[in-house]
Amino acid sequence: MTETGMIKLLVSVEDTGVGILPEAQGRIFMPFMQADSSTSRTYGGTGIGLSISERLVKLMHGEIGFVSETGTGSTFSFTAAFIRAEMSSLDIKWQQQNPSVSGFQGLKALVVDGKCIRAEVTRYHLERLGISVDITSSVDAACSYLSSNFRTSDSEHLAVVLVDEDIWNQETGVTFRRLLKEFRPNGCTEVLEVPPKIFLIATCVSSTERNELKSAALVDSVVTKPLRLSSLICCFQEATGIGRNTQVTTGILSTCGNLLKDKKILVVDDNDVNRRVAQGTLKKFGAVVTCVESGKAALTMLKPPHQFDACFMDLQMPEMDGFEATRQIRSVESKFNEKIDTGEVSNDTFVNMAHWHTPILAMTADVIQSTNERCMKCGMDGYVSKPFGEEQLYSAVARFFVSG
């Protein structure tokens, strides 16, 4: 812990990828630079991930660096400073939202995976659900585990065997199936009525492959990597029948209240699909949405006096783009404000609006910083990148509307 009471964390991410050539190591943090020209073709991306990360880390009062060896992989590390969290931490809240989770206590799972770090990650996910985990790193080890009538405590019950796709093949599947049918925990004489299930952990399985596997009864379910808590819960619920009827509810609506309720928002975009999606998202928060197609129309709608509480403006439109429209709107507003100041226009007709400044947020697919500067220069109040999800939209607009 530092003197200011901040906690400094070191985060390291180790991979077993192709590594980064020494010649390229000097430039990978530069925007739009990738290790070499083939990177984009092979892996996609535009080369801004690391430069964004570097800036974020700097903003978080930290540093970022890496070690890499071609053919072995890379380890990226960064430091950042955090304040100590409150006792009412996320995990507790999360468990409160997921009553089904307590139903998994006492279950045991066997993870079969040759990569020990990956197996530990799987263990971590399962333990979060209250499931205890044993790991074996090979098919043979798993077979001896299963056939040795492994002693589990009376309170533990082997419910699932999770096998990573790297180790799995048809033969393995058949062997496990057979062993599990004969599995007798605690050296009992009788076989389990419901034998443990087999889950395959795989990155991508098409629905035909999935059906083939299931109909050959080789696996009971496929869990996709990277592991996600909600899909693990689903699989386990299906396999064990526990907590099937519980709805897992997430969502920002319940926690963030009604900040946008009944607020009048203007959406400006020349593309009708984008308009409809923006409208749908804002309506979800209870806003009253009006849509227009052009900068010119926006100018008409936002000429004071008007009823709008905020405006979402697309930047790239034909004829008059978002920048120009905003500039003109600000100009009209300032002229109107002058008139109020000089008494030329009475302000009590307009519910005490002594100073017109409609919050205007840019909607853009362009994440380059210069766009943000341009937005600010012409009088915009912020921006959201397209397409925006509920959370992004919400946090962009919330600061304009005081709660209560």
């Binding site: 996609g44 991508c204 399985v205 098409s206 629905s207 999935r210 059906n211 996709t224 996600r228 909600s230 899909s231 689903c234 969502g251 020349d270 593309n271 009708d272 699909v273 984008n274 409809r276 999606v277 749908g280 998202t281 309506k283 979800k284 790239q316 034909p318 697919a365 397209k386 397409p387 999800g389 509920e390």
Partner: protein, 151 residues
């Protein structure tokens, strides 16, 4: 076919669309925006997308067929298509548009024509997939079931 099987098929099909990259998270966002006050939101927006895209693709074909190609116009149209495909989560169409814009900048006619072909293909594929998805939904509802939420 009974409801349970239809629902399972629906879930599997939806998952495969995500797995194979046809759809991305944005499509999930759209589904979350659908509720009792907006019961047909997804179908509505996707239909708009189909209408829009077909116009754009026809226009693009004409523009690229001219003797003197107006690359600015091509770029503007591809930008539109990229925007709307991105808004509904049609990932592969969106990605095809990104490459397309690079060729526009270079004023490379062959590259543009190749990209147009690719975009048309991806559009056709995703249109097909989405229509199948909607049909499955209709079948479930007709059989008296509820449409399952897919993670």
């Amino acid at each position: 076919m009974e409801v349970g099987q239809l629902q399972e098929r629906f879930v599997d099909y939806t998952k495969s669309l995500f797995c194979e990259g046809f759809l991305d998270d944005q499509f999930l966002q759209l589904q979350q925006l659908q509720d009792e006050s907006n019961p047909d939101f997804v179908v509505e927006v996707v239909s708009l997308f189909f209408e829009d895209s077909e116009k754009l693709l026809n226009d693009l074909t004409k523009t690229l067929d001219q003797q003197f190609v107006d690359y600015k116009r091509v770029d503007a149209q591809v930008h539109q298509l990229k925007g709307s495909s991105s808004s509904i989560g049609a990932q592969r169409v969106k990605n095809a548009c990104i490459g397309f814009r690079n060729f526009c900048e270079e004023q490379n006619i062959e590259g543009c024509l190749r990209c147009l072909h690719q975009v048309k293909q991806e559009y056709s594929l995703v249109k097909n997939k989405l229509q199948t998805l909607f049909r499955l939904e209709q079948q479930i509802v007709a059989a008296g079931g509820a449409i399952p939420m897919v993670e």
